[in-house]
Symmetry: C3
Subunit: 354 residues, 3 copies
């Protein structure tokens, strides 16, 4: 088990250390359940009681805490606790165990170029003309299809499926089971369909003939920037002619659906079960909370933030904070909801007035 001295941790966090920097810990824990060899995480005064219950000798504390009075032998003080969690967990994460080298039960096409220091697990399939940068870690059951390119420090976890015509930058992380480069969901009828009529008329599907769907194939690929992470069992479709694109620094949570031709900008967060329908464009630094939906062929501007399960049907201007089905400004949504809750009694009282 790896151990860390407090000095090591404080240095990694750029944080202030007081007390005995030679104390060694093997991990971090909540204050009340911390063992003696664990670092208690007590960045808020509300954790003071917990510290008394637990057995930690060292802690990360809130600014101004009196560590001696709390019975500790050392303490680390950080300016922005949540940000410190990043440094601490990065330091302590053992990471997935994938043996160095290429496992004998992996099938790697002879034309594939695998960078230095790669660790490729059992039952992995790497296709023709694939290029993977230095330092790749590829867990079991992963497939990377013909012609795709992945950058340096790629981490593909168990069962990830990268299709053909996918280009991904450096430091990519793919959680188990996600699919990058499935075919777009694009079908057309020989003559105009009821859906086309209903969309044009906002509700009237007219006299469309009964007809079957013909497939539009996805000739495009998927193009992903640097420092991107994709969640477990998410799916990203290839574009029809051009690529579906995801910008630098964008993170997708689990079970997210990205339709064909979608363009997602830089530094976005798309939380669990978000869905973006085909050909929509998402700006930079957009944050969509869990279960949000974005209609097809619309534009969501830079810095838009949408609360849980917001359904965005029309273009959203930059900087807007949205909520609701259909999405409206968060303040409007809160007002409307308040009014709606009063509505039944309000209508009754008005009718009595008459």
């Amino acid at each position: 088990m790896t151990t860390f001295t407090l000095t090591q941790i404080a240095t990694a966090l750029g944080a202030t250390l007081e007390g005995d920097g030679d104390i060694e810990v093997v991990g971090a824990a909540e204050p009340s359940s911390a063992h003696r060899d664990q670092l208690a995480l007590a960045m808020d005064p509300k954790y003071a009681d917990g510290l008394a219950k637990g057995r930690a000798e060292a802690a990360i504390l809130w600014q101004g805490a009196d560590w001696r009075a709390l019975g500790l032998k050392a303490a680390i003080f950080v300016a922005r606790p949540r940000y410190a969690m990043s440094g601490l967990t990065t330091l302590m994460d053992p990471g997935p165990e994938i043996e160095a080298g290429i496992h004998p039960m992996a099938v790697v096409h002879p034309s594939a170029k695998i960078g230095d220091g790669a660790a490729i697990g059992p039952f992995v399939v790497i296709g023709r003309d694939v290029t993977i940068g230095d330092g790749a870690r590829i867990a079991s059951h992963v497939s990377v299809a013909e012609g795709s390119t992945l950058g340096r420090n790629t981490l593909l976890l168990q069962g990830v499926k990268v299709g053909a015509r996918v280009v991904i930058g450096d430091n990519f992380i793919a959680q188990p089971g996600c699919v990058i480069g499935s075919d777009g969901f694009s079908f057309v009828t020989p003559e105009k369909s009821g859906v086309e009529n209903a969309r044009a008329s906002l509700g009237d599907q007219g006299e469309a003939a009964q007809q079957s769907w013909t497939r539009i194939h996805s000739l495009g690929g998927v193009s992903i920037g640097n420092d991107v992470e994709i969640g477990a069992n998410s799916a990203i479709d290839r574009g029809t002619i051009r690529d579906t694109t995801i910008g630098n620094g964008t993170k997708l949570d689990n079970l997210v659906h990205i339709g064909h031709n979608v363009q997602v900008g830089d530094d976005c967060l798309l939380c669990g079960q978000v869905g973006i329908a085909g050909s929509s464009r998402i700006g930079n630094r957009v944050v969509l909370a869990g279960q949000c939906g974005v209609n097809d062929n619309i534009f969501v501007g830079d810095d838009v933030i949408a609360g849980g399960a917001t359904k965005i049907f029309t273009n959203a201007p930059a900087g807007r904070v949205l909520l609701g089905y259909p999405a409206v400004k968060m303040e409007s949504h809160i007002e409307i909801q308040k009014a709606m809750r009063r509505l039944p009694r309000f209508m009754k009282s008005l009718q009595q007035d008459k």
Copy 2:
């Protein structure tokens, strides 16, 4: 093909048998499509006509039915038909075929401890120091990562991915493709982000700097009780410091998303596509219908029931029956919806009055 005598079935169900108990059936069927060697399921008088159309000689019947008049040679009577379905289908389910022993094309780490009577299929990967209890059935393409522990009678179906630091009790069932122990979706900016501002102010994201997301790694694991089932392609994230937990007897349907640090109690049902955001706590016997969403960092009390696609944004007290976006009491929701449907005409009539 396995056959069952009516006596066998009645005994397994603790039910009353009338007529010839030696009749053998090979399976169950709806009355109208039942073959001669199938047991018709006709627990309601509405199926009487179906019995006449089908060819079954025996049936499970509603209380008080006259089996002779229905042309049957035998009948089983049960008190609670839906509950009887459990006994019947458990008896008749042949279960997945997984050959006994460890398939030669499975990769099992020499340090792993596999219990007695295990059946492990082809292309399975079992990591370092994994422990799996007696009677495990593990289908093809499953992976169990380093250090994880699974109890007795574990059933992992095709392509299930169990990550590191996962502890699961007895009688666990995992449907194909589900992921247990993916990394949590937890990112932080060096300075306060627009999201933090917007949440604090309910809508105003202030003057946040343009900044990228830094990753908080998941040092915790996932801890799951006994008698739990997880649906196809669902995903459960590891906790940040402590474990994400799921209690005894809880069942998750397909495509369910459980965020990091979430605690789900005992005997809950989380239906298809439900999503629980990070650090929320779900009590015991909570039932969330399909596509429900639970906000992060909130509490849903014991025995809460939420109807389809309910979005729970705030703490829900024990026993509450919820519906809507945002969730309100089901009665209130029905009232509000009625009022809303009348609203356009109501507003028009009031304006004419003026």
Copy 3:
């Protein structure tokens, strides 16, 4: 790289060609980014500027366009551009590379019958008594469980899992990671549960005892017609007694959930993240936009169209165009939404009148 002459393309599309039919292209592109050897797709006058920027010598053009004036050497004219995309992309799609024959690292049960011309990739598992028609293409990591039958020209992409008792017609396409034939989510308590009470009373769960869930197994299978496509990481459950069914020509997008016993008709489109709860019936030519939900045990009539995230709680008559939570006619939804947005000010003004 495959090349196509313009004559070839025009013939495939049944379209009119003007200019030099011997020009060869290697692919299609948007006008402004087209290389010299690519066919520009400019089916609308708005693309005229793009043509000037790009380097294409040939294009598919809008009706009546003057291709010479646009600086092209040849042009193809189509009556319904979107439909032409189908023909064009079908012609140009290289398809997934799966080597002919059965890969030595596939595990195919000796009793399985694989049709002529099959291409089966590495780490595929085909179970006992499986039948797969001629011309099958099966990518890596796929499993097909015991007794299942797939028709001609089956395409199963990476990591698809077909369970036992599944019957599928011809020309089936399964995107990576989808699951066909998981167990239904069906649980019952020994005595009446709070959910049963709440559903009966629309909100009151009564005095239900605290009890655990018992499993109803899925003895049925899944039955799928011809020309069906299932999206990435979607999941389709087996029926309890009868099969879950999907009709001819129906297409499912990514992350779609189909519960046990559900019947979906012919030529439906179920878009990304749609969920259909157990035992519901969906008619023919039904189109459900992304994130729609359908309650259990209801009926959605032929030609119903539902907009994004519509939640259908009750039977929907044929031909209805729906929107909203809960679903109402699209026109009603738009009216209600307009009224709701005015509601806060409306209530305030009325109270001032008093």
